[in-house]
Amino acid sequence: MIKSCYIHIPFCKKICTYCDFCKFYYNEEWASKYLVSLENEIKLKYNNDLLDTLYIGGGTPSSLDISLFEKLLKICKTFRLNNNYEYTIEFNPEDINDEKLSLCKRYGVNRISIGIESFNKDNLKYLGRDYTNFKEKIDVVKKYFDNINVDLIYGLEIEDKNTLKKDLDKILELDVPHVSCYSLMIENHTILNNMGVKPIDEDIDFDMYKLINDKLKEYNHYEISNYAKEGFESRHNLTYWNNEEYYGFGVGAAAYIEDKRILNSKNILAYINKKYNSFIEELSKTDKISYELILGFRKTKGISIDDFYNKYNIDIKELYNIKDLIKDNKLIIKDKYISINSDYLYIENEILSNFV
């Protein structure tokens, strides 16, 4: 029984300098054809499971014109949702308006995720994003929804701790229940990378991370990059981190179904022509455990020892390389959970690479 589903809308009105997601310039004709194919893919693959979480991401789903936007929401009506579902859609701040939000409300969306990234005009320019009056926009959202996430990006070479501090103060002022903070990654095939930008010094990066943890104290730091008020943790993202199965529809979308990790083709023309050929990774039990660990340890609470046992019939504490890490105090056991010592959370790859 699959409980979660991700839908990818690959269109953006403007391309950000750091972006290496699967996205294309918005074009009404393509978008409309895309939705047709999307609907087809869902019909083909969705098994009528009762879902707990549904997430429409991108790209920028909110960039669709109002009629296409409604068409998207209509398509998503196909999914059966349980009584206590979480249904998120991503918005770019400029796209926020009463018309789109009330549509969302009408179609059952109950969580909005907004890519603010920064309040600082220089930062925004550097990231290739537009400035709007974010506070006003969030107030509009709040008229319809209380479950709101905002994204923040930090660690730009032009940024100092002071700028970040101001950004964090502004975030706090917004008084939203969920915040994601991502340190800027310079990925291949991005405008920044092409310009020769290098990642900032890791000591500064780490200082910024500490500052964020400090400023967002009233939130629960429940995953490396995510902060939530009690009860507002993203259940959809927890599906990933708990290594549970999910559908993924749309170009370049990832899914995890019946012990297979599936990655759809990133070719939008092929996708529009209903060629969904995907890359499939079949998982052995060892692979699954490997994923369980590298995902589970992203959560600050860690991995439930009992759940792990129930899933794999193995005592996680006795796993070959986990034992040593516990002895080294790199992993910590507390309240029947095993987690990464918070001193090592920001260098968790050093620990996780033991598990692949």
Partner: protein
Amino acid sequence: MNQEKIRNFAIIAHIDHGKSTLADRMLELSGNVSKREMTSQILDNMELEKERGITIKMNAVRLNYKGYEFNLIDTPGHVDFSYEVSRSLAACEGAILLVDATQGIEAQTLANYYLALENDLEVIPVINKIDLPNSDVEKVSNELINTFGFTKDEIILTSGKTGEGVDKLLDAVIDRVPAPKGNKNSKLKALIFDSVFDSYKGVIVHVRIIDGELNFKDKIRFMSNNSNYDITELGYTTPKIVNVDKLSSGDVGYICASIKTISDIKIGDTITLDNDPCDEPLKGYEEVKPMVYSGIFPVETREYDLLKDALEKLAINDASLTFIPETSKALGFGFRCGFLGLLHMDIIKERLEREFNLNIILTAPSVIYNVCLTNKDMVSISNPSDLPPVEKISYIEEPYIKTNIFTPIDYIGPIMELCENKRGTFRNMEYINETRVNIHYELPLSEIMYDFFDKLKSVTKGYASFDYELIGYRQNRLVKMDILLNGEKVDALSMIVHKDFAYNIGKNMVNRLRSIIPRQMFEVPIQAFINNKAIARETIKPLRKNVLAKCYGGDISRKKKLLEKQKEGKKKMKNIGSVEVPPEAFLEILNLRS
């Protein structure tokens, strides 16, 4: 073939003067290799030779020309491979001495010419690359006449590019190089001048038959250890393999005999017939003395046996490589290997990595030091970490060399400055002609091991060439410098340095190590010590960030791939104490003195 119609000769020259290219033209002219099959420097058949554009191994081929059998050996030009040249020459009666018409006589021209004389060979002087617009035949002729005493009409002009003059050169080989002198009816004496390991055929030995005859059905005996074998294959290369039933005195060819016991084969050994042996073996070769030593260790300790096997097989093909087992506290079990120079060392490293697929660590090269102890005993050490405690040392001696540096006079100043900086003593200078000189300096061998070549090249814009000979040992104020990583002494990083330079070297060394060793999960101090006194210190800051921040729309495979890549990277590292050290760190000293 009538012995009178055999001509055995080697092509010798300074590096890059066109030996292998000229051999191409000879192979073409004799019809051995058709134009269609021809590739540039066809005898450079090793991948590394092709990549670097240099000859590393000698290569013998047979060609037929005007009813004569020619056995030609192409030799390397670089100093580090001069043992290949001297072994080739012992299988020949003649040598073609090439000189690049745009360069003139260089250091290895001189060195190789004298090698040919030592072997009593007929030397044919050739000026090559005459097709080049900046060639100066007149000037180079005069150099040959004045330096070696050739006469003007002995000199032959060729171009390996256009083939011009190659026919005249081959005619000169017929006329001037004497036929082999051996006696076909005497008992068999065959000189092993090269060998190579082949996983199907066993060891293939390349021989020059000095006396007697060898038939396919014969049983052979190696005279150094009396082991005997039935021949499984006889032949020669053109460079294609040609099988024959018989090799007779004067011939150059190869023998296979399913030899799997590598230690039975010794370069320079004499092969005779088992049922009719000769009395005395041939003189053979002088053993080569390595110039530098370095430790070779497997990154993964369990690859020790593979490394041993690989070194044995390589040594079969490279008589100048020596190795004995060695143990390092930091690196475990490995081998102390002797090389003729740093290029040689680099080539062996690459061959181990490529041909045998090994992950290895090389430690800093070291010369052999003579250590006189307080009790008057003298010990030789090739590994700095073997140095006895200071209180037991009376003094230390290091090897010195005398240089031949061939250079246009414009660069005399910078060269002298360079040599002075390397603790050199000026001896004298010879004029080759009005514009070029040969500078003689005496230098510690350890000083030229590192960046001397590169420095020389850069201060002379590549116009100088360099060769050296050992002249003995001299006492100097030398001390051992130890490196401590995270408080632990790493024996593989110890080095012997001159006291006056120790402080600077120590500072540079810890600095370089700091930049080459990646951050770890904890802070790592690096220190340089002399006689238990710290002279330099750096700290590697702890790792602060190694995390993938975002999982794009659930694309988690990507995260796993990244972790797998990181893990691969870690595998290449050596764990010293609890510090992960990249193998290059142990050779970092090479980049140091610059």
